[in-house]
């Protein structure tokens, strides 16, 4: 009788893990995919860093249509990207440790 319970427990754990994986928001991946397509070393546009501007400045930048070309990014994707950028922007919480030079 123990084996079915074990299987059930294992199934529940796997289900929770799968749900968590699916639900995880991945603004970073979206940022790298959509923005990084052009903003990269040797790319069509210069390299950018979310910490280049404060979070609200990034929001204003796109709301005012200041990006020089149409990004073609869907609204929902743009929201994910802006959430990621804002959470890593100049005024966001920053890590503190002795610097490691590149």
């Amino acid at each position: 009788m123990k084996r079915p319970y074990r299987r059930l427990s294992a199934g529940i754990v796997l289900g929770i893990l799968a749900a968590a994986t699916t639900a995880a928001a991945d603004g970073q991946a979206m940022f790298l995919e959509k923005c990084g397509a052009c903003h990269k070393s040797g790319g069509k546009a210069s390299v950018i860093n979310p910490a280049d501007k404060a979070g609200q400045v990034w929001v204003n930048y796109f709301a005012r249509g200041r990006h020089p070309v149409d990004t073609g990014i869907a609204e929902a994707d743009m929201k994910q990207i802006l959430d990621f950028i804002s959470s890593h922007a100049a005024d966001s919480d920053q890590p503190a440790a002795a610097v490691i030079p590149k």
């Binding site: 994986t21 639900a23 890590p95 503190a96 002795a98 610097v99 490691i100």
Partner: protein
Amino acid sequence: MKKTLFAAAAVFLWCGSALAEPQTVTLPAADYQAIINQLKALQGRVDALEHEKQSPSGKPATAALPDSKLKKDVDSIYDTLDQVQTKTLKDKINLGAELRTRVDNFHVKDHQYFTTKTPMAPGHQESNDNSWTNRFRLNMDAELLKNLKFTGRLTAYKDFSDSASPNPDVIGDSNSSHLPDGSNVKLDRAYIDWVPEGLSVPLAITFGRHPSSEGPPNEIKENRKRQSTYPSLLFDGEADGVVATLGLERYIGWKDSGLRFAWGKAYQDSDTVNAYLDSPGGLDDTNVFATFFETQLPGVDDSLLVLSALKAKDLAANFTNLFNDQNAKANLGDIDLYGIHLQAMKIMKSNFDAFLSLGLDRTHPNGQTIPSPLGPVGLLDNDGSSSHSGWAVYTGLAYTIPYVPFNNPKVGFEFNYGSEYWFSFTSGSTELYNKLAIRGDVYDLYYIQPFNEYLFARIGYTFAKYSHGLSGFQIGDPGASSEELRNAYMLMDCRF
């Protein structure tokens, strides 16, 4: 133009009359006057338009007016920008702040500690059903140049309704900002990161009062970014020193990899009169030398691996005040510490964060002992000559619940174990007790409720079962302990 219109009207009327000579039109005087009035009105309108069209300078007025306004606006914007830029350049330090209010409900059974009194007998209990504290921090940073950055933090940490009383648990420089101690403002950290230009190798120098407290994995439970260079199981305290960091990423390709060489003082001998003399109190300084290799694990985003090796030479024990005995001070020997720390956030793009930290210590006593309420004590022993090894493990898991209406709260569980002779430098613990120093088992459960990007609450419960005593002290034979600690707490934290 007026003449032109009148002439045209006259010609028109004449032509009309002439061409229609056979059909002479006779207008009533009132109608004729109405036509003339309309012509005059039209002429006035034409004159007005022509006047608007010509500016005094002869340029078209219709374009000159917006240009003038635009220029005025641009000048105003530049003036404002100049003021903002001037203020920005003058404001060399960015300021941020944190405020935390916390209430603890704790119960300790069979409590043991060093005082001038006789150690408490088994069965002694201490409890407080609502111990309230406030902690204020002023965070500072400045990027002076691209390769020169300052970071600092001032802290005031106090019990409610208690601004003056010194806290006897503040054992010294390493935890003065991390225990409630009146309303005094303390220097928690202040350091410079400098990456010298023109070197053939990527080298950084960090000097000052270091980011050496609340290190990995504290950021998981503290709901923030990494706060220290060193894994907290080995080193969690305020410390002054110098660190040289060699960047390895360009050589081995592992993101954020580096090799650190650190030096600091865990104890600098001084007294109130001859603060700058060498050994005025008769003790050698305790120098700490450490090497750390750290990197993000290849292929695992937002992960951290740190390998640590640390040696503290001439470990000092200066308990003259605590034991009320001027002879209670000596250098007791050296201690070696080794550690492996591994953590990963959002493992495999899931909502799980996890960490595992291992620590080892080995003592090298020099034969010295100091008098204490327990009798003579040496380095992790009472005879001053026996060498011991200890170890500890610290692991935990946190899960961010993907429930947006509740702002994605987090639940976490941590466990740590320290053996009989476990000792490391963790006196700067953020808890009211030194959790990672405990010789025994500690179970720690918490729930974090974010309210917005600045404010969160944490509730938690900790159970610690001590197997051996004198946790956190480098002196004395630990001996068996039946001490237990239960602590339920809640805190509100606002950071901006």
